[in-house]
Every structure is written in structure tokens, then in C-alpha cells.
């Protein structure tokens, strides 16, 4: 970097270095979701993660125009049903205002009281038409709002009554020249005749009420107006006229259409039969060479584009030069360049983001984009914008002419009465005055300055600020409930009670995923003598895996890890012949399917398939009307061509790992390391505690007709399915050589212990076990018992899930529930195969003993960690949190943002989605790419920042935060909430503004139920905590 270029105030914009940096900087604002087949949950506002949460969401509002919190009326509804409590609002407000809470506003009350009133009562507002309608057509000026307490209402009316009847005697000491009194007289002289001025004594209550309100409304209007006169007027921004905006919009549409079409062709991963010719020349050159062709431009717009493309093509400008030229031609000032480039890239954020991802992060894809594609895209976008400007110059001129005609009308409209802004303000004051019981006369005596102060105060507490307070109160309620529930649950020795007295009959190790919470809870309920654990679902095995019928290796580990090891599944040795024949058949079927797939869309192939197409009616009808049966038949057929018995190639023979045949797998020492790490992490490292049967369950989710399928899979396996990891872990832990090494290191696995790997499909709640042939015969009985426990548990868990699906009856039996969820996973028409992480709100890290028997409503990640087995430096915890905090936070924040603004942050409604370029979904026929989560995935989610409860001491946690910048960024920036818990001492500390504050036990009593089903039965809504009695050991 040459300092001279950046330091001098440049007039010519030729410092390319800066430009590419600017583009790269702007690129970070783009959505970071790659191809949809590897959907990885991450913080949607990753670009602003260095800011505190509250500021970041406002930055998101500025950059993406996306709402930072839920809509205000949503919070108000929550307030009405008690999900937000007034007490919480009060405490959040007090905390936020601090010293300034007692500030007096225009002698009407304190700032705190004013703000609380604005939060507590629903103040209506709206645009011009809405407001006029409310004032003219509703009872707004006839009856006090419903929120006003009766005594306040009576007091106000009586006061005015007294005053009106005695108004002739002017209060002494007030000079008659007082302009306010004149104003009042005028209002009264306007108002009184309408009510029959002479007979005010005869007015009934209704008339009085109406009179008071009309008086109040007039006074508010006058007051706001007077305030407006005395405040410094800011000249209104020169905004574009409507007609001009319409033309601009149209321009945006044509430019976007060309770019959408071209981007999707350029990025296509092999869907279109014809590839974009010469795509290897890069985005810019290919675009120019396509659009500079003659005889291709029948409209003025395409014509302009062709002219511009030809000119640049012939000048042989590089993309950078072209960008500089475009910026110059457009006359963008130096200071605005960055903002301009951001705006241009954010015009189609989805496509631009995908180009950036394909260029930087998708070397594994079939057609990654070459480096610099985003810059080239920007260059093309600027060219297209310019061409559109020219092509639409005629229409813009016409629009201006049109405006001259209409401008007269607009002016006359705005002069008539108050401006919209002031009308809204007046209406707010009007409503506040009612609920706060402000006397109209007092209001009238306010000076213009006081009015200005009042209005300033109201404006300062705008909708954004109000929503922030609501949101904090919304989170506070759930946080308080959770922390108190934990304290209450362990008050009478829950921890001791839940500690196993002897060896558990079997142990289940699941992923930390919130969807496994109900499964684990039900297993514990059905068999109280068992134990369950949670660990990140790749079980410490970071590998590239290829199944027996898979074409490629795919990574099964968190995204931030690059695996070194390759593992593949093979048919068992004795069946390898048969398996080869099956592979040949599969290949033939695959080729034929591919041909049919392509052929049905061509001319001749289509003719043939069209004539024979009536056959398609059979699968069509069968799969829609009888999804479960149809899928069984398909699975039976599929079984013919897939090997019946397989094994994992897990032990490596060669020195170094790799993907060729001899290099697959792990060395024994590596295996020992993995097993030791896994067992120690979950605190299963004491010989006496390891039960004879340890079941390791990976998880994933199978659904059909769902482009977002991989978003439902295991987050710790980068959107893959964790079954193979569980299988590999069990195989390693069963290896006697591994056990010998472990014994040397002080971790003795009992001889009679056997590990079994399994795969839990969270969509249809099925469980598949691997390598059962290797199970020792003496354990068969125990395994079968465990299996029946698990079958019962997954049926109950399915029933618990069904309470969330409106299409399932609340009275459904566990067996029917299982059938229901199976049907869902096989149903082509099911837009909600499962609810995935929706409702997730908590993440517990610590011993299961203190959360066991507590009903968590599938809302908590559960990571097992035993501080008593960790060293004094808490190394295990630190290792664990490095993965757990960012991963859980990423999931919860993606859900947060997709929920608060589903259109801007999420991908909107799933129903019109259209898969494009094999990369992502568009909405409808042609639109921007839509990253994020669909409305159907988040509809029951309560957007809150994830609350971590970690079993450790405040000091240890502080140390970990200090030593790990990624964790510190999330916690210090309030992207997650954090509490540390020491159940032995019943001590809970909440992290707040850089330190831990002790939380007092408020002596809450938890509801006690005999089983989960008793608590959730018959209810669909979010449920509170309850203690389940049967699950203690």
C-alpha cells in the first residue's frame, strides 16, 4: 500500500487498491449463506458482530432496511397476555434511564412515568389517511380510550365541568393579554356552539365526555403547532416525486431482471442443458461479449445496453477501470463512494452474496466462481444502471412534466391543517393526556417551550426505542423464569437426588441439539435408572465421509474445522461380489433416471414421455394420498440395490491420512485420543460410572420436497447427518487396543461395556442402530430392554412434538403420533416436516443432574460437562465453550433475525419458492436469491437472545471470556445472555455489563407433575417449567 495515495485528498479516483478494499469491505455486508445443500446456521448480522447487539440491529436497519425487533403491536399483544410484565418494563426502563429517570418533562411528570405510560398503553398512530379516519370515524373524540381508569376519567371531566360553568370569572392575576388565554377563548368559541353553548348545564354525560375530548384534541393540536413554530425548522429533504420514483423503480426492475438472469446462468451448477457459452472468461467479459452482439436488442433499453457494452468491450476496459469510469460518469463524490458501492451491491444482496460465496468459499463446488467475480459483477451492474438511465431518460422527463401539473395540488394539500408529523404528535399527546390524566387546562397553560420539550421527549422515545425496551422485558421474563426454575428445582437437593447411586442400566449419548432434549427427558422418564449425556454431534470425529451408496466424500464436522481424515462405508467383505453387481445396477438406474429427467424437457424425449406419461398418474396419486405406504414401497424397492450389511473402514494402514484406499481412517493412537476426549468432556471418565451399554446417537433429519433439508440436519456436522460419526465413535471405543491405551492414561473402560452407535432421525423420530452383529450375546437382553425403553420414549417424544403441529390432534396417542411424524417426513406436500430449532432459547452446560426432571419444552441445548472432573484450569470447559458458544449463538441468532424480519433477513414464505441454479431459492418466477429461514420454519419461534447457563464459577468464566476473543465478542456485545451456576451452593450469577451479578432465589415453587405428558397434554402454546417427579434415579 502506498501511503501517498490514501493520504492525499484525491480528486481523481484511480487508487485501485482502495477500490478493491472497499468492495471487499462491502462484500461482508452480503448474506454469508453458500449453496443451499450445505446450509450452515450462522449469525445473520455477522458483519456487525463487533458492535454491541443493540447497535448492530440498528445498523442492520440502516443497511438492509430490516426490522431490528418484532413489530410493536406484537409486543403489545404479549403485554396483554402477560408474556411481558409491567414490572419487567419498569425495571428495564429504570435501568436504561439511570439518573435521568426523574427528569421532569414540562411539569407533566417524570421522564420515566411518561415512557412507562407510552409502553403500557397502546397508543395508536398511523399515516394521514388512517389518522383522519380514526379521528373522523371512530369514537376517539367521543369516548376516553379503554385503558383510562374510571377515576381518572371522572376527575378530568368533573374538573372541566366546574371550569366551564364558572369560566366567566377569569382567574385572578392572569393578564388578559396572555396569548394562550386568547387561544383558549378561540377554541371554546369554536367548540361551544357545536354542543349548544348556552345550555351546558343540560348536557348529559356523553356530551360532556365528548366535549372534554374535543377540547383536549384542539388544545393538543394548538400546542404542537406552537411548539413547531418555536423550534428551529429543518428544511425538508428534497425527495423525489412519485412519478419519478415509479420510473426509477421500473429501471431497477429491468436492470435486476437482466442481472438475475445472467447471474443464475453464470453460477449455474449444472441444471441448464446449455451452459453459458464462454463462461470461463469471467463474469465481466462473458457479459460484455453476450450483450454487445448485434441483432439482439429489439428494445431501447437493450439497445442502450448493447451500445454501452460494445463501447467498453472495444475499449478493452478491465472491470476495475470500468468501475472507476462508471463512478466518474455518475459524478459520485469521494466521500460517497463507499456508500454508493454498498448500495449497488445490496441492490440484489442474495445474488451478490452468492457470487462472493462461490468465489471465496466453495472450492468444492462443481462450478466455483473465479476470483474477482464480485468486482466484475459490480462493474456490470454499474454499466447496466447507466444504460437504463439513458434508456429511461424519456420517461423521466415525462414524469417531471407530469409532476409540474400535480405539484399545485400537493402544496395545497399540505397547507391545509397540520402537517402529518404534527398531527401524529398531537394525537400521541392526546392519548397520553387521557391515560395520564393530564387536565386540558394545564396542558393549555404550557408554554411553547414546554410543548417543544414534551414533543422532543416523545420523539426521543420513538417506536425503535420502545421496541427495544419491550424486547428486553420480553427476554427478562423468560430469563427470570429459567433461572428461578433452576434454583427451585435444585433447592431441596435435586443435584444429590439426581446423582446415580450405582451404575446406570444404560447410558445414552446424544447431540447437544435442543430437539434431543425431549427425547432424553422421555428416556429418563421411562427408565429412571438410566443416564443421558449431550455432546456436540460429531463426537469429536472430524472426517470426510462417504457412505456405501454415495458418490462423494462430504465433511461431517463443524464448519470451522477442516478434516484431515477420510472414512468410507463398505459392504461387508463376504458380500462384496453381490455389492458390485448392485452398484452396476444402481449406476444403470441412475443413468436412466438422469436421461428421463433431462429427456422429459426436450422436444423428442418429451413427446415420448408425454405419450406414455399417463403412467405418472400412479405415483402422483399414490404419493400424495398415501405418502407413508408409497414411501415404504419405494424403500423396499431401494433395498434391492443397496448392500444389506456394511462396515466402516476406520482403521488406517498407511502413515498419513488421505482419501485413497489405504489412507482411509484413523490410527489407533488417534482413535484413543478421540475416545478419551469425548468421554472426559461429558464427564464419563470414572470407571464405576460407565454402564455396560453405552448408546451413542448421532442425529439428522430426513424430509422430502424440501430444498432446506440440510438446515434441519446436525449443525455440528455442517448440515450433514451424524449417524456415521456415532458409529465410528462406538467402533473406536469398542476397540480393545484403544481401551488399553486409555487405561494407561487413567481412563479404564470396564471390560463388560459395549458401545453401540445409532442414528436418530429427528423428523420421523426413528432410530437406526449400527453394527448390532457385533453386540456381545450377554448384552442382548439388556440391549432389547434399552431398545424398548427408547421406542417408548421416542413415541412419547413424537407426541410432545405433535402438540405443536396444528394438523395433529391434541388427543393423539403416542403410537399415532409416531405414525403422524413419519407421514410428515414422507409427504410431498408438507411445508413443515419438523420445526427444527424453532423455540430454542436456552443452552445449558453442566451436569445433567441439575436439569434432569425439569421440563424444558425442547427449548434448550444440553451439553454435558462435569466440573468435578475438570482440572483447576478448566481446560475441558474452555475447549468445549469455544465450539458450543459460537455454534449455539449462530443458530439462535439466525432464528432471531429470520423471525423479527422474515422478508429482509429470512427467505419469506416457502410456498412460492423456486430452486435455481442448484444453489438456492428464488421467490416465484424470478427474484433475488433468498438466504435465511422460511416463514414456515420460524412461525412458532420466540425471538430472544440465547441464555447460556454454565456450571462453573464467575472467575473461571471471566478468565475464559478474557482469553477467547470470539467468545468475548458474543458475550460482551450482548449477542447472547450468560449466567453461571454453582448448584452445590445454589448460587446463580448473571453476566451484566462486564461483571457477574448474583441472582437471588425468589422462592418460586415449581409445578410438580408425574410425567411430561401430564404437563404438556392438551396444550399447544409455549409451556413454562415444571418438575417431573418420576425421573430421579
Amino acid at each position: 500500500m502506498v501511503t501517498t495515495t490514501s493520504d492525499r485528498p484525491s480528486h481523481t479516483y484511480d487508487s485501485r487498491f482502495d477500490l478493491s478494499k472497499t468492495i471487499e469491505h462491502a462484500a461482508h455486508l452480503l448474506p454469508a449463506q453458500g449453496p443451499i445443500e450445505v446450509f450452515v446456521h450462522h449469525n445473520t448480522l455477522h458483519a456487525f458482530e463487533h458492535l454491541p447487539f443493540d447497535r448492530a440491529v440498528v445498523a442492520g436497519l440502516k443497511v438492509h432496511g430490516a426490522s431490528p425487533y418484532l413489530p410493536e403491536d406484537h409486543y403489545r399483544r404479549q403485554l396483554a397476555v402477560g408474556r411481558i410484565q409491567v414490572a419487567a418494563l419498569e425495571s428495564v426502563l429504570l435501568e436504561q434511564l439511570g439518573e435521568t429517570a426523574d427528569l421532569l418533562v414540562a411539569s407533566l411528570g417524570t421522564r420515566y412515568a411518561l415512557r412507562l405510560a407510552m409502553l403500557q398503553f397502546s397508543l395508536r398512530t398511523g399515516n394521514q389517511a388512517e389518522l383522519s379516519w380514526v379521528i373522523a370515524e371512530t369514537d376517539a373524540l367521543r369516548k376516553f380510550c379503554g385503558d383510562v381508569p374510571t377515576d381518572v376519567r371522572r376527575r378530568t371531566i368533573e374538573d372541566i365541568q366546574r371550569w366551564i360553568t364558572t369560566r366567566d370569572t377569569r382567574p385572578a392575576g392572569r393578564p388578559s393579554t396572555d396569548p394562550t388565554t386568547d387561544g383558549l377563548t378561540r377554541i371554546l368559541s369554536d367548540l361551544l356552539p357545536r354542543f349548544g353553548s348556552n345550555s351546558s348545564a343540560l348536557w348529559n354525560d356523553r356530551q360532556w365526555e365528548s366535549f372534554v375530548l374535543q377540547l383536549l384534541w384542539q388544545i393538543c393540536c394548538h400546542g404542537v403547532e406552537s411548539a413547531d413554530r418555536c423550534s428551529v425548522r429543518t428544511s425538508g429533504e428534497e425527495s423525489e416525486s412519485e412519478a419519478r420514483q415509479a420510473v426509477r423503480k421500473e429501471m431497477g426492475v429491468v436492470v435486476n431482471n437482466v442481472l438475475i438472469q445472467f447471474c443464475s446462468s453464470f453460477l449455474d451448477q449444472g441444471f441448464a442443458n446449455w451452459e453459458l457459452p464462454e463462461r470461463s472468461r469471467g463474469f465481466f467479459q462473458t457479459f460484455l461479449s453476450h450483450y454487445c452482439r448485434a441483432y439482439c436488442s429489439p428494445t431501447p433499453w437493450l439497445n442502450e445496453l448493447q451500445r454501452e457494452a460494445t463501447r467498453i468491450y472495444e475499449l478493452k476496459l478491465s472491470p476495475m477501470q470500468s468501475i472507476c469510469e462508471s463512478i466518474g460518469l455518475r459524478g459520485i463524490a469521494d466521500d460517497d463512494r463507499e456508500a454508493f458501492i454498498e448500495r449497488m451491491l445490496l441492490a440484489l444482496p442474495g445474488w451478490a452474496g452468492m457470487i462472493w460465496q462461490m468465489e471465496t468459499n466453495a472450492e468444492w463446488a462443481v462450478h466455483p466462481a473465479p476470483k474477482g467475480s464480485l468486482t466484475e459483477y459490480l462493474a456490470v451492474r454499474l454499466i447496466a444502471e447507466r444504460a437504463a438511465e439513458r434508456a429511461f431518460a424519456r420517461d423521466l422527463a415525462a414524469a417531471d412534466a407530469h409532476d409540474e401539473i400535480h405539484s399545485e395540488e400537493t402544496i395545497s394539500r399540505s397547507l391545509n391543517g397540520l402537517s402529518l408529523r404534527n398531527r401524529q404528535r398531537a394525537f400521541t399527546v392526546f392519548q397520553l393526556a387521557q391515560v395520564r390524566g393530564w387536565n386540558p387546562r394545564d396542558l393549555h397553560h404550557l408554554s411553547a417551550k414546554q410543548w417543544a420539550a414534551l414533543i422532543h421527549e416523545l420523539d426521543a422515545f420513538d417506536s425503535l426505542e420502545r421496541r427495544r425496551v419491550y424486547h428486553k422485558a420480553y427476554e427478562k421474563k423468560y430469563r427470570d423464569d429459567t433461572l428461578q426454575a433452576l434454583l427451585a428445582h435444585n433447592r431441596d437437593g435435586g443435584l444429590r437426588k439426581n446423582h446415580p447411586a450405582s451404575r446406570a442400566v444404560f447410558q445414552v449419548v446424544c447431540c447437544i441439539d435442543d430437539r434431543e432434549e425431549s427425547f432424553r427427558r422421555h428416556v429418563e422418564e421411562v427408565e429412571p435408572r438410566c443416564e443421558t449425556f449431550g455432546v456436540a454431534g460429531f463426537f469429536g470425529i472430524a472426517m470426510y465421509y462417504r457412505g456405501v451408496t454415495d458418490a462423494h466424500f462430504r465433511p461431517l464436522c463443524p464448519v470451522n474445522i477442516k478434516p484431515q481424515h477420510f472414512v468410507s462405508e463398505e459392504p461387508v467383505y463376504s458380500m462384496s461380489r453381490l455389492s458390485e453387481r448392485q452398484a452396476v445396477t444402481r449406476r444403470r438406474i441412475g443413468r436412466a433416471t438422469h436421461q428421463a429427467h433431462l429427456g422429459s424437457r426436450t422436444f423428442l424425449g418429451g413427446l415420448l414421455t408425454g405419450l406414455l406419461g399417463s403412467v405418472a398418474a400412479v405415483p402422483l396419486v399414490a404419493r400424495i394420498l398415501f405418502p407413508r405406504t408409497a414411501s415404504r414401497i419405494r424403500k423396499q424397492l431401494g433395498r434391492i440395490v443397496r448392500p444389506a450389511a456394511t462396515q466402516l473402514r476406520i482403521e488406517r494402514l498407511a502413515e498419513t491420512p488421505g482419501d485413497s484406499n489405504g489412507q482411509l481412517g484413523y490410527s489407533v493412537a488417534e482413535m484413543a485420543g478421540i475416545v478419551e476426549g469425548g468421554l472426559r468432556a461429558i464427564g464419563l471418565s470414572v470407571t464405576e460410572r460407565i454402564s455396560p451399554l453405552v448408546l451413542i446417537c448421532g442425529h439428522g433429519s430426513g424430509s422430502i420436497n424440501n430444498p432446506h433439508e440440510s438446515a434441519y440436519n446436525c449443525g455440528a456436522c455442517s448440515g450433514g447427518r451424524g449417524g456415521p460419526n456415532a458409529r465410528a465413535f462406538s467402533q473406536m471405543a469398542n476397540d480393545h487396543r484403544v481401551r488399553e491405551i486409555l487405561a494407561e492414561r487413567g481412563l479404564t473402560i470396564p471390560h463388560d461395556t459395549h458401545f453401540v452407535g445409532g442414528y436418530h432421525n429427528t423428523c420421523d423420530d426413528s432410530l437406526t442402530w449400527f453394527d448390532l452383529d457385533l453386540l456381545p450375546i450377554r448384552l442382548r437382553d439388556q440391549f432389547e430392554q434399552a431398545q424398548s425403553v427408547i421406542d417408548e420414549a421416542r413415541a412419547r417424544s413424537a407426541r410432545e412434538r405433535c402438540r405443536r403441529f396444528v394438523s395433529a390432534s391434541l388427543a393423539i396417542s403416542p403410537a399415532d403420533a409416531l405414525a403422524h411424524v413419519e407421514g410428515r417426513s414422507e409427504d410431498l406436500s408438507q411445508a413443515r416436516p419438523e420445526y427444527n430449532h424453532a423455540t430454542v432459547a436456552l443452552s445449558f452446560v453442566g451436569r445433567r443432574a441439575w436439569s434432569r426432571g425439569l421440563f424444558l419444552d425442547r427449548r434448550s441445548f444440553l451439553t454435558s460437562y462435569d466440573p468435578t472432573q475438570d482440572g483447576p484450569d478448566s481446560h475441558i470447559l474452555e475447549q468445549m465453550l469455544r465450539a458450543v458458544i459460537p455454534v449455539c449463538a449462530g443458530i439462535s441468532l439466525e432464528y432471531y433475525f429470520s423471525t423479527v424480519d422474515n422478508e429482509a433477513y429470512g427467505c419469506g414464505n416457502k410456498l412460492p419458492h423456486n430452486l435455481t441454479s442448484l444453489l438456492g431459492v428464488m421467490t416465484g418466477a424470478a427474484s433475488d436469491l433468498r438466504p435465511g429461514l422460511a416463514a414456515q420454519m420460524v412461525e412458532i419461534h420466540e425471538p430472544m437472545r440465547l441464555l447460556f447457563v454454565i456450571e462453573t464459577t464467575p472467575d473461571t468464566m471471566m478468565r475464559i471470556i478474557d482469553d477467547n476473543p470470539p467468545i468475548a465478542q458474543l458475550i460482551r456485545g450482548d449477542w447472547v445472555q450468560l449466567a453461571v451456576y454453582q448448584p452445590d451452593q445454589s448460587r446463580m450469577d448473571l453476566y451484566r455489563d462486564g461483571r457477574f451479578v448474583p441472582i437471588a432465589d425468589t422462592d418460586v415453587r415449581l409445578p410438580r407433575v408425574s410425567s411430561s405428558e401430564e404437563w404438556f397434554g392438551g396444550r399447544r402454546e409455549h409451556l413454562g417449567f415444571a418438575a417431573i417427579e418420576t425421573t430421579s434415579v
Binding site: 451408496t549 405418472a616 406436500s829 418466477a925
Partner: protein
């Protein structure tokens, strides 16, 4: 009961089932008692099952009794003797309408079952099923129509519901825009249809297809009008069919219609309403026979559309547009078959194509999944073989074709630029003139300050 009475009962059943469904959906909302999702899907199911059973029963009786042409009169609704006009509802069951009506019931029924789960909890659930009921009734009426007016009635119902469903997500800009575009094209088609109907009345004195096609049952009828008359009416009907079936030059709307929820796209633009134009041509196929020129034009329009569709489908990168153009290809071929007089083949082709395309469109979101399973089966990335075009044509021409296909033949752009824009400009000019004129007139009376 005599066979005729059975025919009558079942015939009424076929039409009444969707009509009652529409009445139930419409009336309950009119009186402010919206039905629950569950009861709406139950009603739909019942209606489709009754309709389907009746249709199959008629088919069975026709086969058993060897009837090939069963007309049913449902009364004269409007009669203006002075003008020699009567509007009577007449249904015809023959070899064309019976398979078509069964197809409609099967596909609509399947889609109804699909949509009742797919649109679960959707705010527009009710609206969708109301449009669906309109569509089903429209399809049944137009397939069974025995007079051209009856056909027009069904045709309009189908058009209205289709356009409304394209604009189903009316809180977004694109669906509304595209819905409007579809509606506009439909109106042009409707206008041509009406003109054709009027000319037919003029020529034959009635709108009955019997009168027009002679006495033979479909497809053996022979038209009784002269060649030049046939050409005129036939061309108008071809415009109507081209609008409805998205043939050239109206093809631009077909991919745009993919804005609605997947099931409606599948059943309407993938399978049923896109074939309605072809059905119309089949219905009036005796006219085509009369005029060789007309047949030639039909074949030409069909083949051009088919080639255009095949070409354009090859460059589409999104699944729904690709399927839309693939549909267009087949519809074009079907129309060409009709022009060539291959009526049974065309009918079989329509049925096969409709079933296949519906399935493909419903499964569209599975595309990635399908690609993965194909890759896994083959054991490598999918082979991308260079097609004949890519091997034979030189680069320049290939570029040109690619661009042509990518821009979808410039059809929409050209229509917008050279038809819509002058049209709008003319009326804007009229508006301005009127304003000036009224200003001029009112200035004397109401002088502004």
C-alpha cells in the same frame, strides 16, 4: 329408470358437485361464517369424489351401451326471440369430453389433497380454495360444453381463477404484476373467443357444436360451413387458444405464472389450463378439416411454439421456468398434432403430459435431492454431454441462440415496447387532451385564486 335418466342424473352430478362446492365456499364467506381448514378440505374431497364417480359411471354406461354421444340439456336460460338468440346450457359427453373431465377430476382432486396440507396455516388458505372451486367448475363446464356459449362460461371461470392465483401472494409486487399480465393476455384471448362465437352464431344461427359440426359424434363430425368462413372463425379461435395455451406470440406469460403456490402452478399452468386452448381446437377440429390453410397455420403455430419452447427450456436455470417451457414444447406439439388431424394421439398426449408435468412440478423442490441421488447412483458428478447443437453449430450462432433463449425470444420485450407502450401512450394522450379540454371549459366558471 331408463338409461337416459341415469345419464341425466350422473351428468348433473358431474356439474353439480363442483358448483355446490363453489356455492358453499362463496356463501359461507358472504354470510361471514368462514369454514375451518379441515372442513374446506373435506368439502373439496367430497365434491371431487362425487364428480369423479359420476363421470366414471357415465363412461361405464357409454361403454356398456355403446353410446358415443350423450347430450344433456340443462335448460334455456336466456332467450331473445327477436334477435334469434338463446343461451342454453348444454352438456355433451363424448370421447373427447369424458376423458378430459375425468382427468380434470383426478388432477384437481390430487392437487386439492396436496394443497390442503401444503397451504396449512397460510393466511390465504380460504382464498386459494375459493379460486380452486372456481377453477374446478370452470374446467368441468368447459370440457363438457355442448355450445360455444357454455364453453365460454367455463373458459372465463378458468381464466379468472388462474389470474387470481398467479397473484395469490398479493403483498409482493411481482405476483401482482405477473397476474395482471396473464389476465391481459387472457382478455385478448377472450375477445377473440367472443368474436368467434358471434361469427358462429351469424353463420349457423346457433352456438351448438352439433349444428356446426354436423351430426357425427366426436371426432367424426364434419363441419357444414364454407372454407372461408371456417378460416375466419378458425383463426379467431386459434388466437383464443394461443392466448390460453401460451403459444407464440403469447408464450411470455407461462413462466411468469409460476408466482403462485406450487400446487396451483402445477395444476393450472403445468397441466390443465395450459391445455385448455388445445382442447378448444380439438373440440372444433371439424372446422380445421374444412380449411387446409387453417390447418397449416395451426401446425405452424404449434411447431413454432414447440421449437421455441424446447430451445428456451435448455437455458433455464430454475426448475419452474424450465418445466414451464418444457410444457410449452409439448403443448406446441399437441397443437401441431391437432392441425395434422391426429385427434386421438393429441388427446392421449394431453392426458399423459398433464399427469407427468403435474408430478414433476409438485416434486420441483426435490430437485437437489434428486440430483444427489442420481449422482450417488452413478457414482460421480452428473455427466454433462455436449448436445448436438453445441457440437454442430459454430460459436457465433450458438451465442446468438443462447442469447435468444435467455431473453425468452424477446417476446415480452417486443410486446411491451411495440404494442403496450403505444397503446398506453395513446390513452395517456387522450387523458391529457380531456384534462385540457375540461380545464378550458371550467376555467370561466371556477377561476382559481
Amino acid at each position: 329408470m331408463t338409461p337416459d335418466e341415469f345419464y341425466y342424473a350422473f351428468g348433473i352430478g358431474v356439474v353439480a358437485a363442483p358448483a355446490v362446492l363453489l356455492a358453499v365456499f362463496g356463501l359461507t364467506s358472504l354470510v361471514g361464517l368462514p369454514l375451518s381448514e379441515r372442513s374446506m378440505s373435506k368439502f373439496t374431497e367430497a365434491s371431487v369424489v362425487i364428480g369423479l364417480i359420476s363421470a366414471v359411471a357415465i363412461l361405464g354406461m357409454m361403454l356398456a351401451l355403446d353410446d358415443r354421444h350423450v347430450p344433456l340439456e340443462i335448460g334455456n336460460w336466456v332467450a331473445i326471440p327477436q334477435q334469434h338468440f338463446h343461451f342454453h346450457l348444454k352438456l355433451v359427453f363424448d370421447r373427447l369430453s369424458v376423458p378430459f373431465v375425468i382427468l380434470s377430476f383426478v388432477l384437481c382432486g390430487t392437487i386439492g389433497a396436496f394443497a390442503s396440507r401444503y397451504l396449512h396455516r397460510e393466511p390465504g388458505f380460504y382464498r386459494f380454495f375459493l379460486c380452486y372451486a372456481f377453477f374446478l367448475l370452470g374446467m368441468v363446464i368447459s370440457t363438457l360444453a355442448g355450445t360455444i356459449e357454455t364453453l365460454f362460461l367455463g373458459w372465463e371461470l378458468v381464466g379468472l381463477s388462474s389470474a387470481l392465483l398467479v397473484a395469490f401472494f398479493h403483498d409482493r409486487l411481482n405476483p401482482v404484476r405477473n397476474g395482471l399480465r396473464v389476465w391481459t393476455v387472457y382478455r385478448i384471448a377472450d375477445a377473440a373467443f367472443l368474436l368467434a362465437a358471434l361469427s358462429l352464431h351469424n353463420l349457423t344461427g346457433a352456438g351448438d357444436f352439433d349444428g356446426l359440426m354436423g351430426t357425427g359424434a366426436w371426432p367424426e363430425g364434419h363441419a357444414t360451413i364454407t372454407e372461408s368462413n371456417a378460416l375466419l372463425v378458425g383463426l379467431l379461435l386459434l388466437v383464443a387458444a394461443a392466448g390460453k395455451s401460451a403459444l407464440i406470440p403469447f408464450s411470455g406469460w407461462l413462466p411468469r405464472a409460476m408466482e403462485g403456490p406450487t400446487p396451483s402452478s402445477a395444476v393450472f399452468y403445468g397441466s390443465l389450463s395450459v391445455h385448455l386452448g388445445a382442447f378448444l381446437l380439438l373440440r372444433v377440429s371439424p372446422i380445421l378439416e374444412v380449411s387446409v390453410v387453417l390447418s397449416g397455420i395451426v401446425v405452424l403455430v404449434g411447431m413454432t411454439s414447440a421449437v421455441f419452447g424446447a430451445l428456451t427450456a435448455r437455458v433455464q436455470t430454475d426448475i419452474k421456468s424450465a418445466l414451464a417451457f418444457a410444457s410449452l414444447t409439448q403443448v406446441g406439439i399437441i397443437v401441431a398434432e391437432i392441425g395434422l388431424g391426429l385427434r386421438y394421439i393429441a388427446l392421449i398426449h394431453i392426458i399423459g403430459h398433464a399427469c407427468l408435468r403435474t408430478l414433476q412440478l409438485l416434486r420441483a423442490p426435490s430437485l437437489l435431492h434428486d440430483y444427489h441421488s442420481m449422482e450417488n447412483a452413478i457414482g460421480s458428478h452428473l455427466p454433462h454431454r455436449k448436445s448436438l447443437w453445441e457440437r454442430v453449430l459454430n460459436v457465433r450462432i450458438r451465442h446468438w441462440f443462447y442469447r435468444f433463449a435467455l431473453e425468452r425470444g424477446y417476446l415480452d420485450a417486443v410486446l411491451d415496447e411495440y404494442i403496450v407502450r403505444p397503446f398506453c401512450a395513446t390513452f395517456r394522450w387522450c387523458n391529457r387532451m380531456e384534462k385540457k379540454w375540461t380545464d378550458f371549459l371550467s376555467r370561466g366558471a371556477d377561476e382559481k385564486p
